[in-house]
Symmetry: C2
Subunit: 317 residues, 2 copies
């Protein structure tokens, strides 16, 4: 199959639900936001050996790629609409790989209500690199931002943290003492993030600031602190752990660092004014407060400063 054959056979069907994709037969897509809405645009890439393993199943690579981008839309409180995808395949291009990758996209398109609107595919003498631009919709001025946290706000996070980083450790052969079901649960969190799209939409008008936890909790809260011009204090004992992560940390307390600084959990970290505390969504856990000042401070239950683990998140360089 050549590039045009791959587009027609595997990718054009993914564009069927978006008239503005023009069937992928034109040079570009033409998309208008719904009346009164703006587009929210984000672009994340993933490279084999950096963000996933070269022999990961192609459908999971596709779904993770789409989901990490949808997580950015979730962090903005945007409703997913469409996406464009870029594939740089190891030469020679493997049609079965492309077919499985497209199957993964098809599965998650249906789950998240988006459609393919364009992209580009090539082959090169190097590892797989995949990129995606996600298009969402939000009211102009209504998107969640990182800059709105104010002293007195509560700091919250959805779900549990550290699972993805611990899952990667499992894939690399560590944590052999955990029960198989716990290891499987952690690996699943690494391989297939669950973007918090519905939560992001629910936080519009409620959260004062929001970010998705992709670089690591403390690093990402550091971005919120910096853009908001305030300090964020995190109570380490309040950081929510899954049963599997709690088992791992019980066996080796240093693994708590994965919950604080490991990336790839794709939960939402957000701040809410105290007056909104009664309206906190069910998946939220309060883990700290916003203060005047700068930076992120990690404390124990008595308010004593704790060392900040790791280098504060992945930076990829």
């Amino acid at each position: 199959v050549d590039e045009f054959g791959a587009i027609a056979r595997y990718f054009a069907p993914l564009a069927a639900g978006e008239p503005g994709a023009l069937g992928l037969t034109d040079d570009a897509a033409v998309l208008a936001p719904a009346p009164g809405m703006a587009f929210v645009l984000t672009k994340d890439l993933m490279a084999a050996g950096v963000h996933f393993l070269a022999d990961d199943p192609p459908d999971l690579v596709a779904r993770k790629l789409l989901r990490v981008n949808l997580s950015d839309l979730a962090a903005m409180g945007a409703r997913p609409r469409a996406y464009l995808v870029g594939l740089t395949l190891p030469r020679p291009a493997d049609e079965a790989w492309i077919a499985a990758f497209a199957r993964g996209l098809a599965q998650d398109q249906a789950a998240f209500g988006v459609a393919l609107a364009g992209g580009d595919t090539t082959a090169h003498d190097g590892p797989l690199v995949v990129s995606l631009t996600a298009v969402g919709e939000a009211r102009p001025g209504g998107a969640l931002r990182r800059s709105g946290a104010r002293p007195g706000d509560l700091v919250c996070v959805s779900g549990t943290l550290g699972d993805a980083a611990l899952g990667l450790r499992c894939l690399r052969g560590a944590l052999g003492g955990l029960p198989p079901a716990s290891r499987a649960a952690l690996v699943e969190r690494y391989r297939l993030p669950q973007p918090r799209v519905a939560l992001g939409l629910a936080l519009v008008g409620l959260a004062s600031a929001c970010i998705d936890v992709s670089d690591g909790l403390l690093a990402d809260l550091g971005h919120v602190a910096e853009t908001s011009g305030c300090r964020i204090v995190v109570r380490q004992d309040r950081v929510p752990l899954s049963p599997a992560a709690a088992q791992a940390v019980a066996g080796d307390p240093a693994l708590m660092g994965d919950a604080l600084a490991g990336g790839d959990d794709y939960e939402l970290a957000f701040t809410v004014p105290p007056a909104a505390a009664s309206r906190l969504p069910g998946e939220a856990t309060v883990i700290g407060v916003v203060e005047a000042g700068a930076g992120v401070r990690l404390v124990d239950a008595g308010g004593n400063a704790l060392p900040v683990p790791g280098r504060g998140g992945w930076t990829h360089f």
Copy 2:
């Protein structure tokens, strides 16, 4: 410099002209099209060793990347607005390379009136891969399409063809018999395309179909023929050559194949109804006609069929 340092130092200044980029400090950009307009979205990637040479100057790589995407917007008759960029750098990331790449973007941003709205950067153990999503604006329903060619329409192309493919031959050590100035002119066409943005805008309401010549003239006209459901007949002797390309073809007639099937010229190929012939833009040359039927036919001045060179364009697999 780490990823966040690179964003702040080299990329955030490129976003200063687009308020919707939110200073690159958020998870996504928030862009609304001008009133009454839709967004036109395209995504093209380039890999070292495939679309450019690994030691090409980084500012030229940046400018070519932006320009090949702007060429897709031009082919749709869209006005460029913003872009998102993805970098996958060979490890370890080279700050001087990033700085020069950003300088190239800055230069062409000013030339084409666009601003950076987001992106992603990583390093991996492999060759450089760069991708870009360009955002343009057009009236809904007013964008140029590939599907509107009708029997009787004139087939036109802007500028001259084959220069980029011949320039690549020069870079690979061929065409040594050409004068240095001719070789330099051809190499420049390969290294730095000139997207026909103004022409694309001028063709709205005039052209019945349009495409940019990136895969090769006959391959790209084949896309127009297929989506329009008609046949395109090209007179080989009418295909416009630059003085340098004409010198090359005079020395080796087989090099005419570069004008017909070589890619990367980024001119616009388009069709116009005969009634619009008097309003053809100055940079257009009429090279053929649209007929009932299918496919692309190459003919001489007497209407006799000529062999179609090459495999009909680059497909990258």
